[in-house]
Amino acid sequence: MKTLIPKLVDAIGPSGFEEAIRELIRKETAAWADETWTDTMGNLYVRKAGDGSGKRVMVAAHMDEIGVIVAQVEDNGFLRFANIGTLAPKTLLGARVRFANGAVGVISHDGGARAEIIGSKLPDLHRWYIDVGATGKDDLPVQVGDVGVFAHPFVDLGRRVIVGGADNRVGCAVAIESLRRLQNSSHDVIMVFTVQEEIGNRGARVAAYQLHPDLALAIDITPTGDAPKSELTMAVDLGKGPAIPVADTRMISHPRVRQALVDVARQHDIPHQVFVLTLGGTDASAIEPARSGVMTANLMVPCRYVHTPSELVDWQDVEDSVRLLTAFLQSDLSQVGG
């Protein structure tokens, strides 16, 4: 995992432009897959066949990430940009952007040094720009329509790790590692590395319709409620194990799938946290109403500083999430229904 996650965050993949990360995941899963394919939207399906007696289980981890898209080039070489996914304005000043061709830029906003340093109000997004070190239009390394992501150096802190792009490369890593460990599962498991989650769960919707699985899990990260004086009333802490939401802001986890996760965690002595996610949602909300309905739940890795260039997770939570997902996929799910 300590080698897999840095590789995953190094491949860029803002929503709608997931080719690089998709090809990396295809390579990283090839030796363990019975079948791999993609669809028109770019979702990557990695299947590990069961023995025919189990369920058809979809495991979705979105491989896209938030980022920026160049909207306009000014004469002096500054780039105006639009958001891809939800950007937190207060995290932008001084943040670095990395483009697919290797170009790097720094973000600031109108008003110059005085506004940047002592200004108290954050301007609207159209007043922000990226400086890629160009002196004018002639030596610009990027053009209108090019996409970038936040440059996020990976730092191992020991028990914990700063990993910009944890949302959701950590979820992808959990799915990949679980696929590698999966043995003797009766279930037909299809790991779907979905596209365009950050702009409205668009890939997962299509994938769930195509697969029409018996049940589904979405693997993602969740904000925690354990920050100093947290205003988020949420019963989930970093380092206390994988988080299993009863509901997020868009959907209710199917009670029987959720209970099956909890039961498996108890059987295998894996720490876990049942909570209500009061900020945001995941691919699960798009999978659940597909066709005549799919029994769907979430499995989440606790994460601090979500949607900033420096997300922070706990190694033990990541490892326990892999253990829980693997054990779940190897368990007898006949009581769940679907």
Binding site: M251, V274, G337
Partner: protein, 367 residues
């Protein structure tokens, strides 16, 4: 006249069923309708689907839907002093919450939403400002976190605890009594147990004119999610959604040129269009013809307000939809008020519309 008793409507409205947690209401409905339907099943999301044979087979597949869920609160955290913190599930307004009684979890533990009494808070912000739902707490009488955690856990639902009552002249009703033909009632979850009660009235009728598929849906209040799945799963030719809908004919609204969404006592409300669908015009015309022929009072719901399971059903396949609603004052709050004559007229209109429904739609098919 409906075969529904006072006791059935009482249990139907008093039982808690937050979005995604509809089991208790589903069990009640299933138990009551089982002897009167030919097939009963529960789909992946928890929708209860009943096939009901009529006197004659319907020439098209008619689905009639009502949602079982109601707005609710989630327990998000349990604090050191044993108070429960909350988030809303569905459209809850914090102004309706302060000081209200709730039932917590499937054990229906009693609780009260805490607030600062007026005595010493009169001049503070806490007295005059509407709080955020996330800042409110529920008191279940636990002294500390340990005592609270022994009884409840994060993720459980908290629902208003409100008995069904008949308003007006003092009159006591027994559970076995039939529903009075008219009179105002108050209770919780009229959105959409009034729709469920309407649909149940059809199912308990052993001389129903034509076949229908009854769908008691889940998760309407958080985005029509049960209906989305049922629409594609069942693929009916037409769907009629039954609702307990907004009624805002409050004092002054008749004189101040505010146009109420619906009015209490003016009959079931017919939707022309709401915020999400345009009702199939031939179906609306059919409802109006039937209402005139049988002298059933109806009113139009003010356009462009809200959305119902009709939109969820039609999202993928776009089948024709119709919506019939019982006007209910103060919905999404702890106690709503409805008029029983509106409810009965809605049942009568729906039932009388069934025999000619297929031919009314067929004669208006597109060239």
């Amino acid at each position: 006249m409906t075969a529904l008793t006072w006791g059935m409507l009482r249990q139907l409205t008093e039982t808690p069923a937050g979005p995604g947690d509809e089991g208790a209401v589903r069990d009640l409905i299933a138990r009551w309708i089982q002897p009167h339907v030919q097939a009963l099943r529960i789909d992946a999301l928890g929708n209860l689907i009943a096939e009901k044979k009529g006197v004659v087979a319907a020439p098209m597949h008619i689905a009639v839907a009502a949602h079982m869920d109601e707005v609710a609160l989630f327990i998000t955290e349990i604090d050191e002093e044993g108070f429960l913190h909350m988030a809303s599930s569905g459209g809850v307004n914090a102004r309706t919450l302060l000081g209200k009684s709730v039932q917590v979890g499937s054990d229906r533990l009693p609780g009260v939403i805490g607030w600062l009494p007026p005595h010493h808070a009169k001049n503070s912000d806490e007295f005059t400002k509407t709080p955020d739902v996330n800042d409110l707490v529920v008191d279940i009488g636990a002294d500390d976190a340990k005592a609270a955690k022994a009884k409840v856990k994060p993720g459980q639902r908290m629902i208003f605890d409100t008995p069904l009552r008949l308003l007006g002249p003092l009159q006591s009703l027994n559970d076995d009594d039939p529903l009075p033909a008219q009179g105002r009632i108050s209770g919780k979850a009229f959105d959409d147990r009034m729709g469920c009660a309407t649909l149940m009235s059809l199912l308990l009728d052993d001389a129903l004119p034509v076949d229908i598929t009854a769908v008691f849906t889940v998760q309407e209040e958080i985005g029509l999610r049960g209906a989305l799945a049922a629409g594609l799963g069942l693929q009916p030719d037409v769907v009629i959604a039954l609702e307990g809908t907004v009624c805002d004919d409050l004092p002054g609204s008749r004189h101040e040129k505010r146009f109420p969404t619906t009015r209490l006592g003016d009959g079931p409300a017919l939707t022309q269009r709401d915020g999400m669908v345009v009702v199939h015009p031939p179906l609306l015309q059919h409802f109006l013809r039937v209402a005139a022929a049988y002298h059933i009072p109806t009113q139009f719901k003010r356009p462009n307000i809200g959305g119902t399971d009709a939109a969820g059903f039609a999202r993928w396949l776009g089948m024709p939809t119709g919506i019939i609603s019982t006007p209910c004052r103060y919905i999404h709050g702890p106690a709503a008020v409805a008029e029983l004559s509106d409810f009965h007229a809605g049942v009568a209109l729906l039932r009388a519309s069934l025999p000619e429904l297929a031919s009314a739609l067929a004669s208006h098919s597109h060239p």
